[in-house]
């Protein structure tokens, strides 16, 4: 495989696309979806209901059909990207913001960090989705609690990942050499350790976004988090769940497809970043 960044600038992009077709398609899909949900004019008002046109099958008038209240499913699926993706990004940023420093702190060799990891193990023994659900619903259904819940699920993953990676990096020669040359702890941490874990942190971040999208969809499927008039994918799957057994698949179907494609896109992106990271260090 040719190294992409050794190629002249103009060809770099084309090579990247060729090397990671899945990730490229995924990123384009997300970009398009975001763009459409933020700026494009929707064919119908996503919150407008119309009793006379309820449960219409997909067709020329309503591309993705209409739901039980007569709202246009296509407009709702696109509009839902706004709240679903921004909550997912917010949750991921919080996870990253807490997980990165905590991960660095937990990567020391002291007894304290060992106990922290033990405590995390015990914490992860809990059913995390139930915990997230309890948190959001006990708080009276606040949206910021959805973000907190995502962080609660994902921060321990960052900590464990960074700890295992940094502990093995610490054994390597160049860290030893840096310490022998008198580099301070903070210099070793920020100049030598951190740049070497960026790759896996980025992979984890992409996976966290994917996980967050599923968590948000699960919560709103249960009627917690994003609530009624605001369109959300989980909420649409909830609306359409009863219709599945009577044949109107499109209400839940297209919303579920949107979740699936977004998760697939971020998983592919994670794979591609992981690939590149692995090759850089080989």
């Amino acid at each position: 495989m040719p190294d992409v960044f050794a190629a002249p600038k103009g060809r770099q992009f084309r090579l990247l696309v060729k090397e990671h077709p899945g990730a490229t398609m995924g990123v384009s899909f997300i970009a398009l979806l975001l763009l459409a949900s933020l700026v494009a004019p929707l064919p119908y008002d996503p919150t407008a209901t119309d009793g006379s046109s309820s449960l219409l099958a997909p067709g020329a008038q309503h591309w993705f059909g209409t739901d039980g209240a007569g709202a246009d499913v296509f407009s709702r699926v696109i509009a839902a990207a706004r709240i679903d993706l921004s909550l997912a990004l917010a949750g991921t940023l919080l996870s990253l913001g807490l997980g990165l420093p905590l991960g660095l702190m937990a990567s020391g060799k002291g007894k304290g960090s060992e106990w922290l990891v033990r405590a995390l193990d015990a914490f992860q023994a809990f059913p995390l989705l139930i915990l997230a659900l309890a948190l959001v619903s006990l708080s009276g259904n606040k949206l910021y609690m959805v973000v907190v819940a995502i962080a609660l699920i994902n921060v321990p993953r960052y900590i464990r990942l960074m700890r295992s990676e940094i502990l093995s990096l610490r054994e390597s020669r160049f860290i030893e050499a840096a310490i022998a040359m008198g580099a301070s702890t903070s210099r070793v941490t920020f100049k030598h350790l951190l740049p070497n874990v960026w790759g896996i942190v980025l992979v984890q971040t992409s996976l966290t976004i994917a996980n967050a999208i599923v968590v948000i969809a699960s919560l709103s499927f249960l009627g917690v988090g994003v609530s009624a008039p605001t369109p959300s994918w989980g909420g649409m799957i909830r609306d359409g769940a009863g219709n599945m057994a009577s044949g109107e698949w499109w209400i839940a179907g297209f919303a579920g497809l949107a979740v699936l494609l977004c998760v697939l896109a971020f998983n592919q992106l994670a794979d591609a970043i992981g690939d590149r990271t692995a090759r850089t260090y080989r």
């Binding site: 809990f126 499927f221 249960l222 009627g223 979740v259």
Partner: protein, 354 residues
């Protein structure tokens, strides 16, 4: 010159229990400590999280005196420390409190709903393990060739699909379009009554009662939920199996076995023996993740297990139910991990435990 033992010195034997016993005892000791932690956490998580259950139960129209009365009735007006001691004292005697709504002891409700969940989870893990390991191993064996590509495509898709959505799609295809699956109405059809309770596992109880048609019906109702969870988690299994078996196929002993001209079947068996601890570990982890993690799928199929029960409890702020679920799922997970450590330790003596 030979080294003779020093006169009068005794060869020191191990002081503590050694071998498998040491492993088992050490793990059990840790389990007891961790269970105590889980008990405390399940109390704290629910008691310290903001929210006002009394007001929620009373409804929006209730006035202050009614809310205070409900608070007193549920014991929510007492100080935190007192409630904690009470809670722990109750737990030791097997008392998890009563549900705010049904007024039934939580422990009884859990006991009546756990078998349905365990049936679902155990069968799903079994399906996921078999399917996932086969797909993963085939992928590893034919790495980068077409069976691998096909396997990875499906793995990628099933990893990305939310399990509850997959469940709904399966209901649409197998119940509505093809009409071969029963309606998603729980463990049995609406018209059927559950057999007399012996073990709590409906398929077994219906056999005990000698009702074959009921047994068949209970199996039919299991197919879609098990398929839903099995397919989603098979994808995770396949990913792990592909990596693990791939590494084993590249290991020195496998190369050596090939070089010695052993038949391919034997070589493959060696590779499987090498990867079995990872796969057993993964099965345990997934089993633990599914307890509580399958709650939404239970709800989709109207499955009357602890998942549905816990979701209902959480959504109406039934604190003892939430505590009970967190406690039971946490404890079962810890017990699973403990058993896993012991099994893996016995399977692979190279692994040293503290």
């Amino acid at each position: 010159m030979t080294l003779a033992p020093v006169e009068g010195a005794k060869i020191r034997g191990p002081k503590r229990a050694s071998g498998p016993w040491r492993l088992v005892l050490g793990r059990l000791g840790f389990l007891v400590a961790a269970l105590f932690g889980v008990m405390t956490l399940s109390f704290l998580l629910v008691s310290v999280t903001p929210g006002d259950p009394a007001r929620l139960i009373a409804g929006p129209l209730a006035d202050e005196t009614q809310v205070t009365a409900i608070e007193a009735e549920l014991g929510l007006d007492r100080p935190l420390g007192e409630r904690y001691l009470d809670y722990m004292g109750g737990l030791v005697q097997g008392d998890l409190g009563d549900s705010y709504y049904s007024k039934q002891p939580v422990i009884d409700e859990i006991a009546s709903k756990l078998p349905a969940t365990l049936t679902l989870v155990l069968l799903s893990v079994a399906l996921a393990a078999v399917l996932g390991v086969v797909v993963g191993a085939v992928g590893a064996y034919f790495r980068t060739r077409w069976p691998d590509s096909v396997g990875r495509l499906f793995t990628g898709i099933f990893q990305a699909v939310p399990d509850f959505f997959l469940g709904l799609m399966l209901i649409y295809v197998f119940f509505f379009v093809l009409g071969i699956a029963p309606a998603p109405a729980g463990q049995l059809a609406f018209s059927e009554t559950a057999p007399a309770r012996v073990t709590g596992f409906i398929p077994i109880d219906s056999l005990v009662a000698g009702d074959t048609s009921l047994f068949v019906s209970s199996l039919k109702h299991l197919v879609l939920p098990v398929l839903t969870l099995g397919l989603v988690y098979a994808a995770y299994f396949a990913k792990t199996a592909r990596t693990t078996v791939g590494r084993a196929l590249n290991s020195q002993q496998v190369h050596f076995a090939r070089a010695m001209g052993l038949p391919e079947r034997t070589v493959l068996r060696y590779a499987f023996v090498e990867s079995r601890t990872t796969i057993v570990t993964y099965a345990g982890v997934i089993f633990a993740a599914l307890l509580g993690g399958e709650a939404i799928v239970e709800r989709v199929f109207a499955w009357d297990g602890i998942g549905t029960w816990a979701l209902t409890g959480i959504l109406r702020l039934d604190l003892p139910v939430v505590q009970g679920m967190v406690l039971v799922a946490g404890a079962l997970t810890l017990i699973t991990y403990t058993l896993l450590d012991i099994v893996v330790g016995l399977l692979d003596p190279r692994i040293k435990h503290a």
